[in-house]
Assembly symmetry: C2
Homo-oligomer: 328 residues x 2
DNA sequence: CTGAAAGCGCTTACAG
DNA sequence: CTGAAAGCGCTTACAG
């Protein structure tokens, strides 16, 4: 068995009480400089480290944030993971990574989060039922939907302003003098795909530009196959708006395979601005999601709720910007 | 304050002792079916869930695995993260994700891992000093270096057989009738880059094929710039072996930019077989790392050490295979 | 400012 | 098989 050095061991060596040792390590507690010095010296000598579990048990608080994610194949999400982890570390919080295979978060994942009494949970591209979300609420655990919304407005969400962004994409494309357009959607019922479609279609309808929609799945292969199908139908449009970048890259490869020139024959616009969009092989014109700002807003909310739980619900939307490159 | 349902509450409702409630939830403990039924009914009614922290405090064990990672921009690593998370979940373990900005794992990250008394730690592309590694050992926490080795053989590591793999890459390239070759390395002192270089060079030296080495950094941009430099020198070789795929993709884009044909003018081989290597825009010939098998070996070791700590050190190496596509 | 003591929610010998 | 009790390593009123 590994022997743990406890506050008691330190207390004995330092010649103070165990409470004093505790006070040295508990932020906000008061100790004299003299005691602090004695304790720190003894602790150093013994290699003392406060036990997080004992601490959490008594305070009923943890420094763990649950981050739920599905599509790590889309580089957008590892980026999100990285930024959250980095930002939370500065605040003294660690992230418990939960990966859901399925579209929807599984009961055992919810169990895990609840068992560890996480200080907050962020759910990204996985779906969560209303019932589960209520579970977190009833446990007073702050929850935010990141880059996704529930179709009720009873929870906190942080997204890019998808509606406005896709309107701007449509307007930009129209200004490029296109005849007809195609929207390639992501997974059917995701709020992101739905909103991007709505904004895009709204402008096209308003301006009377012919348009069609094809359903895909937010993957490279999905984008690739969908675009191949479109060309094989003999109905290549003058512009394609893909609901995310990784699909857009598949679209580009498919169009190239069919010897169509980009942007001359077909223009392509994506969404996210992942690293690869800038690669010379693609040079994708896309809408940049303001990840940094989105992460910041999410953390602000969670921290505020940790300090003083309100259960506040709000749909926060942050603008991004159009990044013009070579594909449109 | 959120009120927690405790084993005591359940005990009262079920009309049994708190110990009996505990036994129902503690694997391996014995309870009669009758008691179990009573407890489960009461627990269900109250929404009871055992407190992980109290449990960890008393058993001095956790179900948390620390996973340390740096380069999430290289799709190889999110893939590794996903596979570990999935496999550990099945065993009832969760993963605490630790992202290091710097090349080397930071003291505060080590603190975190130690404070949470993690059941094991896996360190991927970040570096860890010998001193820190010893820290884990002295706390009897199993540690494995995944896809990286320390330059001492005192720790457990799981890697692809890089030496053999790169020899095979060299032999394959030679069979393609090349005149001279270039090796583009990853970050200088990583074991992977060093080993891949060693195996590759060994064969080239043996067969007397002219070769040069360029130092890069395992990123797309690094590969791109390095290849650009090589061409600008007017010394494009007949084949380039990049130490990982993401650099190889950069190399391809640079060569294309310089209007060199692949594989006719220059052949390119990568390492990893990330998803993108198969994309139509690249069709990269590469060495596939057997992630699944590597993950499996890592987990086997960690589980064995959790059950019975030995501190066993070993360098496990697993073969991968050459994936022939269009670039060589 | 400091110490003795209670208690967080569990597991686990120890009796019965 | 079950219960009463001790104890894991902390925080936090409560006195002094």
């Amino acid at each position: 068995m590994k022997h743990m050095v406890t506050a008691n061991d330190v207390a004995k060596l330092a010649g103070v009480s165990q409470s004093s040792v505790s006070r040295v390590y508990f932020e906000g507690a008061k100790v004299s400089e003299k005691t602090r010095a004695k304790v720190l010296a003894a602790a150093e000598q013994l290699g003392y480290r406060p036990n997080e579990f004992a601490r959490s048990l008594i305070t009923n608080k943890t420094k763990i944030i649950g981050l739920v994610m599905k599509g790590v194949e889309n580089p957008f999400y590892p980026q999100v993971l990285k930024q959250f982890t980095t930002a939370f570390k500065k605040l003294g919080y660690s992230v418990l990574f939960v990966h859901t295979q399925n579209e929807e978060i599984q009961p055992e994942d919810v169990e895990t989060l609840l068992n560890y009494n996480v200080a907050g949970v962020i759910i990204t591209d996985a779906a969560m039922s209303l019932k589960v979300a209520e579970d977190f609420r009833s446990n007073r655990i702050p929850l935010v939907f990141f880059n996704r919304k529930l179709n009720t407005d009873e929870f906190y969400s942080v997204c890019c302003n998808n509606l406005d962004a896709s309107r701007k994409v449509a307007e930009y494309l129209i200004s490029q003098d296109v005849k007809d357009m195609v929207y390639i959607s992501g997974n059917g019922n995701t709020s992101t795909s739905l909103e991007r479609e709505a904004g895009f279609m709204e402008i096209l309808q308003k301006t009377g530009i012919p348009h069609r929609k094809y359903a895909s799945d937010y993957t490279y292969t999905g984008g690739f196959q969908t675009a191949l199908g479109i060309v094989d139908e003999g109905r290549a449009p003058s512009a394609i708006f893909a609901a995310n970048d990784i699909m857009a890259l598949g679209v580009i490869d498919a169009l190239k395979k069919k010897s169509l020139r980009i942007p001359e024959d077909v223009k392509v616009v994506g969404f996210d601005n992942i690293d690869m969009a800038a690669w010379l092989g693609y040079q994708l014109t896309t809408w940049e999601q303001p990840i940094e700002e989105m992460v910041k807003k999410t953390i602000e909310y969670i921290m505020a709720e940790i300090a003083d739980y309100t259960g506040l619900a709000k749909a926060v939307e942050i603008d991004g910007k159009l990044i013009k490159r070579k594909t449109a």
